[in-house]
């Protein structure tokens, strides 16, 4: 039996301290960029978010394959939790990018290679999440979304490669370019660790939530079955089909 969603105080405090320190370092300790000035500091959250998102999608891929091979529901829970984390972190990337681009490039968006492929990646995993909402049976959902998850992940390098070829034939704005000042590295790495920490923390909580949902569904099915057999039913007639979460958590 799952223990319910407890607040993991220690790791939450640790990640909170990490993200606080990373924020302070990125905003106050890191040197200002010479030409872009203050706005460049968004980079400390933009790039690590992308990396945390990639790690999350990697976890989804591994979990999808593990589910297809092992058929343990926990892999499905991990796959969906990680996919949601990936979409969340790439949403951060796609929002912070234009905020940076407007003052620096003068435009919010351009169909540059990296932007376009990130956008396609984001849409691919959004459709993975949409697919999951549209399959009713839990086991069917796990199987079909795992196959889709594998195909989506295999598509990513091809999307990047083709969009890269496509765009490099055209003029494009320069992203980054040149090395980073060595004083920029420590805040950058700190932000990297902090955002990865946030991702793992959220992933763990999301995974537990998924496990609980599964359990609630099992209990509800058992109750329905018992009621249909004329036996004792914990669900009052005409009441909610789903027992309270409190009961399920014990």
């Amino acid at each position: 039996m799952a223990r319910g969603v407890k607040t993991p105080w220690l790791s939450t405090l640790l990640v909170a301290a990490l993200i606080g320190g990373a924020g302070y370092a990125a905003l106050f300790l890191a040197p200002a960029e010479r030409t872009m000035g203050l706005i460049q500091r968004i980079f400390y959250f933009h790039v690590p978010s992308a990396w945390a998102g990639f790690v999350a999608f990697g976890i989804t891929f591994v979990a999808c394959i593990a589910y297809l091979v092992k058929r343990a529901p926990k892999w499905d829970w991990l796959a969906v939790s990680a996919a949601e984390m990936g979409v969340v972190f790439f949403t951060v990337v796609l929002v912070t990018g234009p905020i940076w681009a407007k003052p620096v490039w003068g435009i919010w968006w351009t169909w540059d290679a990296r932007l376009t492929s990130t956008f396609v990646l984001w849409v691919l995993y959004l459709s993975y999440l949409v697919l999951r909402t549209l399959v009713g049976d839990a086991e069917r959902r796990a199987v079909v979304s795992a196959v889709f998850g594998v195909f989506a992940f295999l598509d990513v390098p091809l999307v990047y490669l083709s969009i890269w070829f496509w765009r490099t034939q055209h003029p494009q704005p320069v992203i980054g370019g040149g090395g980073m000042d060595r004083h920029m590295w420590p805040p950058f790495l700190l932000c990297w660790a902090a955002l990865l920490g946030v991702m793992v923390l959220l992933l763990r909580q999301r995974y537990r939530l998924e496990a609980l949902r599964h359990e609630v569904q099992e209990i509800s099915l058992t109750a329905d079955f018992a009621a249909s057999q004329g036996g004792f039913s914990p669900v009052p007639r005409g009441g909610s089909r789903v027992p309270s979460l409190k009961g399920a958590a014990r």
Partner: protein, 227 residues
């Protein structure tokens, strides 16, 4: 029974079903024509512009047509509960998928070949000399369509098990086909340019796409057919 023979039998069955009514082919061809007309309403292109946009439009129309025509591949079986019968057959599940991929490939490629002369007329294209333009163009059509139908048939099996499946299939398929759209369009543009040029790197991407997803179907496709 070996895999190739089983897949051929499934392919023959699909072809027989389709050529009794030819409904998929007719619908697809008319659909693409409608898209072409709508395009000229929306953009009102001059002759030079329509030649420039032609290849891209052609491939977008094929992609949309594919995402609609692949949908009956599994739902047609569901309507008559014949998929269960297919599963009972003493053949590998992969053979069912392969047969359907091949059948869809034949249907879509056939519609494209029927539409090609229409495009030549509408967009004032020149497909000669044969070995420099038409032959490579047929190769691109084949490679692009193979990628489209491989991923499309698998995703059609995925979508057939969900609600709102008509809406879901294009949603799943179109973003995943971005590499096919880009690569096929670029090669087609190159072939129709003056002088024509064959862009090998794009053909390699198409080939890589086909191989990656045929392999993935071989490894993971059969999970979709279990009960």
């Amino acid at each position: 029974m070996n895999l190739a023979r089983a897949a051929t039998i499934i392919l023959a069955k699909e072809l027989r079903t389709e050529f009794r009514t030819r409904e998929l082919l007719t619908t697809t061809v008319v659909f693409v024509l409608v898209v072409v007309v709508l395009f000229s309403f929306a953009f009102d292109p001059t002759a030079a512009e329509s030649r420039r946009f032609g290849p891209g439009l052609l491939w977008i129309a094929f992609l949309f047509a594919g995402s609609l025509m692949l949908h009956p591949s599994f739902t047609r079986e569901q309507a008559n509960e014949t998929l269960a019968a297919l599963r009972l057959a003493p053949i590998e599940p992969l053979a069912i998928l392969l047969g359907k991929i091949l059948a869809n490939f034949v249907f879509l490629l056939l519609s494209e070949l029927l539409l090609l002369p229409v495009f030549v007329v509408l967009y004032d294209l020149s497909l000669t000399p044969f070995f420099v333009r038409l032959l490579p163009l047929l190769l691109v059509l084949a490679l692009g369509t193979l990628g489209l139908t491989t991923v499309g048939t698998v995703f059609s099996a995925v979508a057939s098990q969900a609600r709102l499946r008509e809406l879901l299939l294009p949603l799943l398929l179109l973003p995943a086909l971005a590499p096919v759209l880009i690569a096929s369009t670029e090669v087609t543009v190159g072939l129709l340019a003056d002088p024509p040029q064959l862009q090998r790197n794009w053909l390699q991407i198409l080939l890589a796409f086909d191989l990656v997803f045929l392999t993935a179907t071989w490894l993971f496709g059969e999970y979709l057919l279990e009960e």
